[in-house]
């Protein structure tokens, strides 16, 4: 059963920030509520004040320009990202990731910002956005700051948000030419949370096909979305062959510290991480080659 709470529905970012500053740690933000309502219903979370920001329309937007990159307002829903022609043209991997995120009902109401702030390491958006080198714009009454998404996760369900601070925007730079990005997760039924997942970005040097940059990011492999630089090092500076992707998968699996649960033991997850890094890496490579 849910405990009583006081409910606010501010319409502007300024109102949100002053409500948060007024009620301090007792206030909890709710956006789409697709993660938070679950724990509230279970009685595990019982905030005194709930600040519903779903009506802050100024945070529901997307824009793209080649120089500035992609800007996504924190309250943009998963479904809007999935269906956006702009995303499908320039950031296909985001649309593909969203298509496998939970159910249509959840995607229709759940927001990208809410998902990232929930800080669940099994979430899909964070690894893909980290592979895309995304940054987050955070705002509080005392000002704004921009943090790299890869440094945003602090622990299981904990992110780098100060009291009184909210996520307002996700910023994704335009990938360099000859960059391919892919994401896949292991699921028993489409829409399941990934038992494990991997997002890989590969940038090739024009001409000789040497890997100039790589990013390997895992979901459900640690207490936060896990970027594995050691695995990336296996790829950077080399002409990529299947064997190198196998090695990157082995390194990623060794670095990972996955949980074990009813869906899979830690050992099984480690094995699957090898498979997914190799498989997703191969797809990213194909895309980088323009195929």
């Amino acid at each position: 059963m849910m405990k009583d709470f006081e409910y606010f529905s501010p319409k502007t970012v300024e109102e949100v920030l002053s409500l948060l500053s007024e009620h301090g740690g007792e206030a909890k933000i709710i956006a789409g509520g697709q993660s938070m309502l679950v724990v509230m219903r279970q009685g595990l979370l019982s905030p005194e004040y709930v600040v519903d920001i779903k009506g802050v329309s100024a945070l529901d937007y997307m824009s793209y320009d080649e120089r500035e990159g992609l800007r996504i307002g924190a309250l943009t829903t998963h479904r809007v990202i999935e269906k956006s022609a702009l995303i499908q043209e320039h950031f296909r991997v985001l649309s593909e990731m969203e298509r496998n995120l939970a159910t249509i009902q959840t995607r229709n109401w759940g927001t990208i910002g809410g998902n990232l702030c929930h800080g669940d390491p099994s979430g899909d958006p964070a690894p893909v956005l980290i592979a895309l080198d995304a940054k987050l714009r955070l705002k509080s009454l005392s000002g704004e700051r921009v943090v790299a998404l890869e440094a945003f996760g602090k622990d299981m369900l904990e992110v780098d948000l100060e009291p009184g601070e909210i996520l307002v925007e996700i910023q994704v730079p335009t990938p360099r030419p000859f960059t391919g990005v892919a994401h896949e997760k292991l699921m028993a039924v489409q829409g399941d949370a990934g038992i494990v997942g991997a997002a890989v970005s590969i940038t090739l040097k024009p001409g000789d096909g040497v890997c100039e940059d790589a990013r390997v990011v895992l979901s459900n492999a640690a207490s936060v979305p896990l970027r594995v630089k050691e695995a990336e090092k296996r790829l950077i500076g080399k002409v990529l062959k299947e064997q190198l992707l196998v090695e990157a998968g082995e390194v990623a699996s060794a670095v990972a510290d996955p949980p074990g649960d009813i869906h899979g033991t830690a050992k099984y997850r480690r094995e699957m991480l090898k498979v997914f890094v190799r498989r997703v890496g191969a797809r990213a490579l194909e895309r980088a080659k323009g195929r």
Binding site: K28, V39, Q42, G43, L44, L45, S46, P47, G119, S122, D155, M156, L157, E158, N220, S223, P259, G260, D261, I262, H263
Partner: protein, 150 residues
């Protein structure tokens, strides 16, 4: 949910054993422990609070030493619930101490925890991750404690 692990401590096996059963040491070394009281030779009364992100649970439980073979073998059974009624649990643990030479003692444990209620739905994925952290902090604190007493 079966959890097992191993910690290595420096100190004599007798000292480690003694500290492991000492309520005052336990309350100061177990992260989130608010109360651990030995109410008789075999029974401890405990309140331990744990936090995962915005979610916190407070467990009130009794642990009973069902078998002790000092200083090497220990069996414990516990039962309790979350104060906010989010879940009820029973657990059985087996702890073995072994000298490794070089003044080190290996403490290995196997714990079978059964949780029912909303906490169980919340997922053992998160609870296991938390258990690992608690183990690390406990080991560190206990080690400091062992060194402190010489």
């Amino acid at each position: 949910m079966l959890m097992e692990g191993k910690i290595i401590l420096r100190g004599s096996i007798e000292k480690v054993w003694e500290r492991l059963l000492d309520a005052e040491t336990l309350v100061s070394c177990i992260p989130g422990a608010e109360k651990i009281e030995r109410i008789d030779e075999k029974t401890y009364d405990c309140v331990v609070k744990q936090k995962v992100g915005p979610i916190s649970v407070k467990f009130k439980f009794k642990s009973v030493l069902t078998k002790t073979e000092p200083p090497r073998h220990l069996e414990i059974a516990g039962e309790g619930e979350d104060i906010a009624k989010a879940g009820h649990f029973v657990q059985k643990s087996i702890v073995d101490l072994r000298e490794r030479g070089g003044g080190e003692v290996e403490v290995s444990y196997k714990s079978d925890v059964n949780i029912v209620g909303k906490l169980a739905m919340f997922g053992d994925r998160i609870m296991r991750a938390k258990a690992k952290k608690v183990e690390e902090e406990f080991t560190k604190a206990l080690q400091e404690r062992l060194e402190g007493i010489g």
